[in-house]
Structure formats: structure tokens, C-alpha cells
Symmetry: C2
Subunit: 201 residues, 2 copies
């Protein structure tokens, strides 16, 4: 991680604001006891993260779950709002979820994003835990406004991402803290804060 | 609303950081058709808002619901994590919910906050809709760092707070926007962003 130093010099081309995408992952997480696990799916995450991603102009939002049944559940939820009754009942929800795709793995997400943008995304890990080699929000924000890379923000579930996932990331964002030591935010809240810090006007 | 001009001069006394509290309201809301309604309770709001409030050092978080059954449900949820099995299973959740109280009405919240702090809180309305006479996040942040008032951030549900509630507020915060026009955030996400903007370090 933190293998890449982010550019502060290259000017944004073509007026595109923020080549940022986000993904919520469930495989390769850590549980309370420190074991590597696949976490369950929380449906409200799909709604909240897609709404935040749409608000902050992200190029796409993803959710990955390796379980066939839980992936199908995610698909059923999103299709209700994209094409089913929900699409006419609440078009704002449709608009957010049109920008969200449910896939199985991080590899599928990287491939899809590469197909959409023509670029291999730079993986950006996030964690509530502190540590060395972290990128500040200001550094990444500056980079999003000055280079033409595609950045993929990786969000974990459970007790956070395991080492195998963290080691794949090229950048590792600093944790979110308020005035004190407590920073046990929900992933939905943390995502909203991250996007506001990186893409807020 | 916006009757009070916030002070930018008075120095913070006693080193207290941020005399801010938050409440989530369900009575006096607007529905999709523009009618005034009482919205239902969403349990995940209680978790997410209490965790954000604890992270950003708020003096207290509240939820109000006038329905006896839904108030009892909120009490049951919070007591599971404060005193029940949840309190030992996940002490971080206990720590957040210890700072959250479920009451019936906004009046009860104001009374409780006044008992806790010895001061009548200044009500601060929030909305995703634009309009005149709004206070910016920077203005309120400056005030939180320079006067010794207690501010109570009012969060709405459904399609937002009705006029009767909005007119009780002395300040009205500007809406949260990203780079575009879409700003249909969940109340959980909006709360997290508000607290980060007001209390973030």
C-alpha cells in the first residue's frame, strides 16, 4: 500500500470533476475475533452509498458480494428501484441506483470500471484504524482535481478489511476522527463524510 | 427562523469543545404529497446517528417519536445495547448509545437538554431544500468555537420538516450539495456530513 505518490501538478483535462468511484466489499474482511470472513449484506448500505455517490458526482458506485443468494438479493433490491414500482414511486432513488452496480468480486468491479473509463483504477483503501503511510483527504482531493486517474475508494464491512485486500491498495486514506478518540462510524456514515471531504464544493 | 445572528466574537469558556446536540424528529413532517404526517421509525437511524454524535463529541443525541409503540421499540433497541447482551458483545455500540435518549416530543428533548446543560438550546433547522436566510456551516462552526450557547440540530424524516417545526428554529442551515444538483442523501448520511463540517478537526 501507499506505493504511489499522488500527483499534485497535472491539470485536469476536459473539465471532468472527480474521477472517483466507490465500492463496498464483503469478502476478505476481519471479524471481531480477528479472523478473515465474508460478512453479510446490509441492504440499507446499497441505498445510502448510492445516494451519497450520486450527490457527490462519482462516476460509479459498486457493491460486491461473493454469495450467489446475497448478490441476487442486491440485484432484486436495485431492480425494484431502477425498473420496478420503485422507479416511478421515487425517481430520485432510481437516479441514485442507476449509478450503482452489484457484482461478485473486486476483480469484476475493477474490470467494469476499466471498461467504463478506459483506465485501470487506482485502489484506495480506507480504515478506521490508524497507521503509517497514510494519504490525507486534502492530498487525495488535490489529486482528484489535478490528474486524470480513476480512483476507486474501497469500503470495508465487519471489523474492516483484511491484510490481503489492504495490500492490493496503492493508497491508504487516513482514518476519520472527530475531536476525541472514538471513531466507530457506520460504513454508510463514513462513506458520506469521505465523499464530502473529497468531492465537496 | 433565522431570527438570531450568531456571535463570532465571544471566546469559548472552560475549554468545552462544541456545545452541540442533535435530534431526529418524526412528528410534523411532510410526506411525498405535501401533507403533514408522522413518519415511522427507522431503527438504523438510531445506531448511525448515535455513532456519529459520539465520534464528533456532541453533548447528546436524541430521537423523538410520539407513538407509544415506536417509542417503546426505540427504548428496547437502546437498552439491548446499553444494558443487555449487546453491551458486552460490542462496548463501542454501548458507548455511542449511552449518549442517545429516546423521547416522545421535541419539547421533552429541549427540557432534557436544558436540565443537562442549564441552558435553553438554540434550535437549528436543517433541510435539503434551498431558500433564503440560511446559515452556512462555517458560520455555525465559528459560533460553536466562540460562544457558550447550546445548539440543537434538528433532523427531519420523510420528505422533510413541516412549516410549524421550521418556524420554531432560530437558525436554518444551508442544504448540503456536492458538485451537482442531486442532494437526496439519507438522513443518516446527511447527519454524518453535518457533524464533520461543524465539529471535524
Amino acid at each position: 500500500m501507499a506505493k504511489r505518490r499522488i500527483s499534485k501538478t497535472k491539470e485536469r483535462q476536459g473539465g471532468v470533476v472527480g474521477q472517483l468511484a466507490v465500492c463496498l466489499l464483503h469478502e476478505g474482511m476481519i471479524d471481531k475475533a480477528g479472523n478473515e470472513v465474508t460478512t453479510s449484506l446490509t441492504l440499507i448500505d446499497i441505498h445510502d452509498i448510492s445516494r451519497s455517490a450520486k450527490t457527490y458526482g462519482l462516476i460509479h458506485a459498486y457493491i460486491a458480494h461473493p454469495s450467489l443468494a446475497l448478490h441476487q438479493l442486491a440485484m432484486r433490491l436495485t431492480s425494484h428501484w431502477k425498473e420496478g414500482y420503485g422507479s416511478t414511486y421515487n425517481p430520485d432513488r432510481k437516479s441514485a441506483l442507476d449509478n450503482m452496480t452489484a457484482l461478485h468480486t473486486l476483480e469484476e468491479i475493477i474490470d467494469d470500471l476499466e471498461k467504463q473509463t478506459g483506465k485501470k483504477p487506482i485502489l484506495v483503501a480506507t480504515s478506521a484504524k490508524g497507521g503509517g503511510g497514510r494519504t490525507s483527504y486534502n492530498q487525495l482531493k488535490q489529486s482528484l482535481h489535478s490528474d486524470d486517474n480513476v480512483y476507486l475508494l474501497m469500503l470495508g464491512t465487519g471489523w474492516g478489511m483484511g491484510d490481503a485486500l489492504l495490500e492490493r491498495a496503492e493508497l491508504f486514506l487516513e482514518p476519520i476522527y472527530g475531536p476525541g478518540d472514538y471513531n466507530h462510524l457506520s460504513v454508510r456514515s463514513a462513506c458520506a463524510i469521505m465523499l464530502d471531504r473529497l468531492m465537496g464544493i
